[in-house]
Amino acid sequence: MKHLDRDIDAGAAPPANKALLTVAAVLLAAPVVALLWVGSYARVEPTLAGFPFFIWYQFVWVFLCAACTGGAYRLVLIARPHRPMSTRGEKRGEAGR
């Protein structure tokens, strides 16, 4: 049956660098684990400029988390570069036969 302009390798994800994706996953998981582990930071000392540890520690994670997510973004772009769909479909379509 004709595949009607659809990619011959439909059903396949674009190739990816699994190692880089794993590093990205670790970067994304780190803030979640750190902040859900409430016991690690639910205390007053050490205070910083009058702020209890509980408060300033979580504010610090705003920046750490943005850095982690930003890093993960870079890695994901490198790990799985975008493959345009249309050109791929035509080329593979001919090569496949």
Partner: protein, 546 residues
């Protein structure tokens, strides 16, 4: 509190509010290429928003007026477990959505999906499951819109409006605000809140930064603020228990963590979050935004602390009815501490802050109705213009019913429903997000899981009773079965949901229950701007192909 109308603040409020309104109407022509008469244009702004517009739009959408009123109020009244979890919640939110929202964008771009229920329909091939997801979304959104009005009401009340004995005069300002909102939502669609979000977010940043620099020194410095908060939270209430938590005690760790995680998983299941995500131009817009949206979380954290600043400042949030009302604490703090004109700016930030999410929520709810109820169950194959028309009318109805909700029912009902809405919306997560990765789950298994989660969540929330008043729906945490700790009901219901779906799937398969047709294919989940879109006839051919 000061009595009477604060005319200076009111004048500033009105001027800024009118500016936002003009911008809203003008937005209809903003960056428009085609006609407004399709859901892609009216309901998704032409899927054209780049990184910065999306940043403002999502910031304006997620950090709502009600959040700005309720989070500091919870800090003021009950302390960190009830209030400060909003900070970890809005931090871990972004790595979490980073993972799956780009996939949802890609498959929606390929197949022209406008709502989460559209995707569920296409992926699982189940009209009933799609309807369940759509109805859940609409039910969860309605009280959320109503609460935006509650946020606006809090500001109007502190300004001195709404105390009149006459019912009409009392609610007139809210009527006017809502008529304007409905007007530009109708005429400009999603472009209106996207454009107003610039002024809303600008004002919010300005006000919070000024407040956080100016107020602490005025009330005696941060050390004094934390001492005052500590003193209040550890003092005993009438029942002989501490008023609240200064820092979560060990028995509240689970509550704090599950509130943060459950809320983070739930937020992007709301139709208004999905609408704002899908309106972006490319697959990676949402991911870039995940790295810059935490700026709003930082502001939200500061705002939460203002609840404790108010404790040190001795703010007395008393409503025009003479009863204490913690939700007035931030507007009251601003009125007490700022010159009248700047209080007006702050009030405008909250009032305009209510308009942006209320508009996006009405649009999202009406898109969901049009696509997943009207087109699916009432009238098949409407033209794009007809879809847009139905959506516009429904948006008006949604906004009007939210107004009726707030004016006729006790405000507590809106808060209860919003609490339930948060629990309910998380029950759409398996069908949508699990569905983005796997077809392992049987469509009826997902439906059974959804029903189980909804049922458990509703009953568990009903059974939370305020010991002082005897009212139901007194909170969103209850005992987690098996684990034996207090935790967020939504997350427990979600676990039950996933478990039921996982157990039901092999049983349904063994019984030979038919699987639905999946119109998507793996590569769709990686599509980006510029890739060809699946045309409808192609979808029909794909059905033959499989």
């Amino acid at each position: 509190m000061k009595t009477g109308v604060n005319y200076t603040a009111l004048a500033v409020l009105i001027v800024l509010f009118l500016l936002a309104t003009v911008m809203g109407f003008w937005a209809a022509n903003w960056r428009r290429k085609g006609k407004l008469e399709s859901l892609d244009e009216w309901g998704l702004g032409g899927r054209s928003f780049g990184t910065w517009v999306t940043w403002f739009l999502l910031g304006g959408d997620l950090y709502t007026a009600y959040t700005f009123v309720a989070v500091p109020a919870a800090m003021f009244a009950l302390g960190s477990v009830s209030g400060f979890f909003a900070l970890p919640y809005t931090i871990i939110l972004y790595p979490i959505i980073f993972v799956y929202m780009a996939r949802l964008w890609s498959v929606s771009y390929r197949h022209g999906y406008i709502t989460g229920a559209d995707f569920v329909r296409g992926r699982h091939g189940s009209r009933v499951l799609s309807l369940a997801i759509a109805v859940t979304g609409i039910l969860a959104t309605m009280p959320y819109i109503a609460l935006q009005l509650v946020g606006m009401q809090a500001v109007l009340e502190v300004v001195g409006l709404g105390g009149s004995a006459s019912v009409l005069a009392k609610d007139l300002p809210l009527f006017i605000a809502f008529a304007l909102l409905a007007g530009y939502t109708y005429s400009a669609g999603l472009r209106a809140p996207a454009f107003i979000a610039f002024i809303k977010d600008g004002l919010i940043y300005l006000v919070i930064i000024v407040a956080i620099i100016y107020l602490p020194s005025k009330v005696g410095g941060w050390a004094h603020i934390f001492a005052a908060a500590h003193a209040k939270m550890t003092s005993l209430n009438a029942a002989g228990k501490p008023v609240g938590a200064f820092i979560p005690p060990s028995q509240a760790y689970w509550a704090y963590a599950t509130l943060a995680l459950g809320s983070a998983l739930a937020l992007f299941m709301y139709p208004h979050s999905i609408t704002a995500t899908l309106s972006s131009r490319s697959r990676n817009t949402i991911r870039r935004n995940a790295t810059i949206l935490p700026a709003y979380s930082f502001v939200l954290g500061l705002l939460a602390l203002l609840g404790w600043v108010a404790i040190a400042a001795g703010t007395k949030p008393i409503g025009l009815d003479g009863l204490p009302n913690a939700e007035l604490v931030i507007p009251q703090l601003f009125e007490d501490s700022f010159p009248a004109w700047f209080a007006g700016v702050a009030f405008a930030a909250v009032a305009i802050g209510a308009l942006v999410p209320a508009a996006i929520m009405s649009i999202a709810a009406s898109n969901t109705f049009t696509r997943n109820v009207y087109r699916e169950w009432i009238r098949a194959d409407p033209t794009p213009a007809e879809e847009a028309y139905v959506s516009k009318i429904v948006a008006l109805l949604v906004a009007a019913s939210a107004l009726v909700f707030v004016l006729t029912l006790d405000k507590q009902n809106a808060i209860n429903f919003q609490l339930l809405g948060g629990i309910w919306i998380l029950q759409t997560f398996p069908a949508i997000v699990f569905g983005l990765y796997t077809r392992w789950f049987h469509r009826w298994g997902l439906l059974a899981g959804w029903a189980g989660g909804m049922l458990y969540g509703t009953i568990a929330a009903y059974n939370v009773i305020n010991p002082a008043t005897g009212h139901h729906f007194a909170g969103s945490i209850s005992l987690i079965p098996v684990i034996g700790q207090m935790g967020y009901i939504a997350l427990t219901a979600f676990a039950i949901n996933a478990l039921v779906a996982a157990v039901a799937t092999p049983i349904l398969d063994a019984a030979g229950a038919p699987r639905g047709h999946d119109e998507t294919s793996t590569e769709d989940y990686f599509a980006d701007e510029g890739d060809p879109r699946v045309e409808k006839p192609l979808g029909a051919i794909a059905a033959v192909r499989h």
